[in-house]
């Protein structure tokens, strides 16, 4: 393991700031690991080493001249391949967009560049952030660095896998129905689905616009906070963008203050006969004890049924993604993967009445969740159920299985963070979520940081 590539953003940034590390050396360390190991993990669909080297040298010139742009200056990052990148192919893991080279960066990518981050290339995703890992797509699926026979979770699959493999220090994901938190949890990294509207969606391939949320992924929650300092902010050209006061996410996360926090523990969503694995239930029980030992209060709380959130999310997402992609699926069905095409078509069978009823139900669930959360600062629940999926025969309609644990916070728009809490007996990563009140992403990150510092899970990387 290259020591440099496995640094956190916070530590690398400190070294860069005091001149103890050059950005070009950090980038070369990441590129060397990618060169050595990515053929078996498939995390990058497009690598831009010369652009990255040029950006790193520029960062070194600026840093040595005393012009430090902030914590991400000189930090190597990867970008999920649904974010548009000027001059660099953005294929969305799709035959349809295989030759698409945007002329303008997505707003969040532009913010990363302006902050001096070094973009290494584009990361593998699921087709248009919704398809499954099937062999009829233009790039091979990313594999899980902890066990390449296992899926890394999706749809930000390359982002999660590349971070765990120490190919980059930060990555962009997107989360419509768990697509940041699934791969973060499955790959034992940190991933924040920010409050809906806090990050611009402009320049990102949409899936379901009323749910689509851009967000940071990194090795630690503190690093996600440092990325949020750059990424969050009002974008007048994104109609869903919220105009809220700036917050120092990285600083609040680094303080990691949790004494006095009241955490509502939603155990009934996953601790039942058809729920999470024994390992997952035990690991989250122990995580609750850790938070208590750190000075937080943890009490079980009853929330609406998980199936209610799933029903609401599935109707709205199916209708919105069908409306967006119908024309292309009609014209070029052969250019879509066999799971993607059917998932996009299912919305054609929904009625206007069903869609409107789901949007009204969404409002009710937001109010009911808020009422149940009264008296609590955070919620805590499982991130996923346990043993990870293999690659054989992905289901066409994944929603026919257990209700996804990330869904509630897509429905409510609240911030939610995936936090690694150990490994199962089969070696699979275990994870829980912290969810906060809307626009209180900083408290979520602080709690995640406190937990990570109190436990050993950030000290272990997969053996490649």
């Amino acid at each position: 393991m290259s020591e440099l590539a496995s640094l956190t953003i916070a530590e690398a940034s400190r070294r860069l700031a005091r001149g103890a590390l050059r950005a070009i050396d950090l980038v070369e360390a990441c590129l060397a690991r990618i060169e050595q190991h990515d053929a078996k993990l498939n995390t990058f669909t497009t690598l831009t080493p010369e652009l990255a080297r040029a950006a790193a040298r520029q960062a070194d010139r600026e840093l040595s001249a005393g012009h430090r742009r902030g914590a991400l200056h000189g930090i190597p990052v990867g970008i999920k391949d649904i974010y548009e990148t000027a001059g660099v192919r953005t294929a969305a893991h799709s035959h349809l967009k295989i030759d698409h080279v945007p002329t303008v960066d997505a707003e969040t990518v532009a913010r990363l560049r302006a902050a001096g981050a070094v973009i290494l290339g584009k990361l593998t995703t699921h087709e248009f952030a919704t398809g499954a890992a099937t062999p009829d797509q233009p790039f091979p699926p990313a594999r899980n660095p902890w066990n390449p026979e296992l899926q890394p979770g999706g749809s930000s699959s390359g982002s999660g896998a590349a971070l765990a493999a120490a190919f980059c220090l930060g990555a962009m994901g997107s989360d419509t129905s768990g697509s940041i938190r699934n791969p973060a949890g499955w790959c034992a990294v940190s991933g924040l689905k920010p409050t809906y509207g806090l990050l611009s969606r402009r320049g990102i391939f949409p899936l379901a616009p009323s749910f689509d949320t851009a967000g940071p992924m990194a090795w630690t929650a503190e690093d996600c906070g440092l990325m949020m300092d750059v990424l969050a902010g009002h974008d007048p050209l994104d109609p869903a963008s919220a105009d809220v006061a700036a917050v120092s996410y990285g600083e609040i996360a680094a303080r990691a203050t949790v004494a006095g926090l009241r955490i509502g523990w939603v155990r009934h969503w996953y601790a039942h006969a058809d729920g999470a694995s024994e390992d997952m239930v035990r690991a989250i029980d122990e995580a609750a004890d850790v938070m208590r030992a750190l000075g937080a209060t943890v009490e079980e709380v009853t929330m609406p049924d998980l199936l209610d959130y799933q029903a609401c999310a599935r109707v709205i997402i199916s209708a919105e993604c069908h409306a967006l992609y119908r024309k292309e699926v009609d014209r070029h069905p052969e250019k879509f993967g066999y799971t993607t095409r059917r998932r996009l078509q299912l919305g054609a069978f929904l009625t206007a009445e069903q869609y409107v009823n789901a949007t009204r139900f969404r409002r009710k669930l937001q109010l009911d969740t808020d009422a149940a959360m009264r008296g609590f600062d955070l919620l805590m629940t499982a991130n996923h159920y346990g043993p990870l999926d293999r690659f054989e025969n992905p289901p066409v309609f994944h929603f026919l299985a257990k209700p996804p644990l990330p869904n509630p916070f897509n429905v409510t728009g609240q911030p939610a963070l995936s936090v690694c809490c150990g490994f199962g007996r089969d070696g699979s990563p275990l994870a829980f979520q912290f969810a906060g009140r809307a626009f209180d992403d900083a408290t979520v990150l602080a709690a995640g940081t406190a937990y990570e510092r109190a436990t050993p899970w950030r000290n272990t990387r997969p053996a490649l």
Partner: protein, 68 residues
């Protein structure tokens, strides 16, 4: 309930599929029928009698223009 409590047979679903205007193979229709039945089971949880006050807020804002 939004689906009026009914399931839908494969033959009924074929008619429905024809009305969508989608170009579908028989395999597509069988798979989509399975998915739609799953969707109906989920939609049975969604009340059809929520008041319009439950709508998401629609707030009109001045249109933003790119800076020149």
């Amino acid at each position: 309930m939004a689906n009026d409590g009914h399931d839908i047979s494969l033959d009924e679903f074929r008619i429905r599929a024809a009305h969508t205007g989608l170009k579908l193979t028989e395999e597509d229709i069988v798979l989509l029928h399975e998915g739609y039945l799953g969707m109906l089971r989920l939609m049975a949880r969604i009340p059809a009698d929520l008041a319009s006050e439950a709508e998401a807020a629609h707030v009109f804002k001045p249109l933003a223009r790119p800076a020149r």
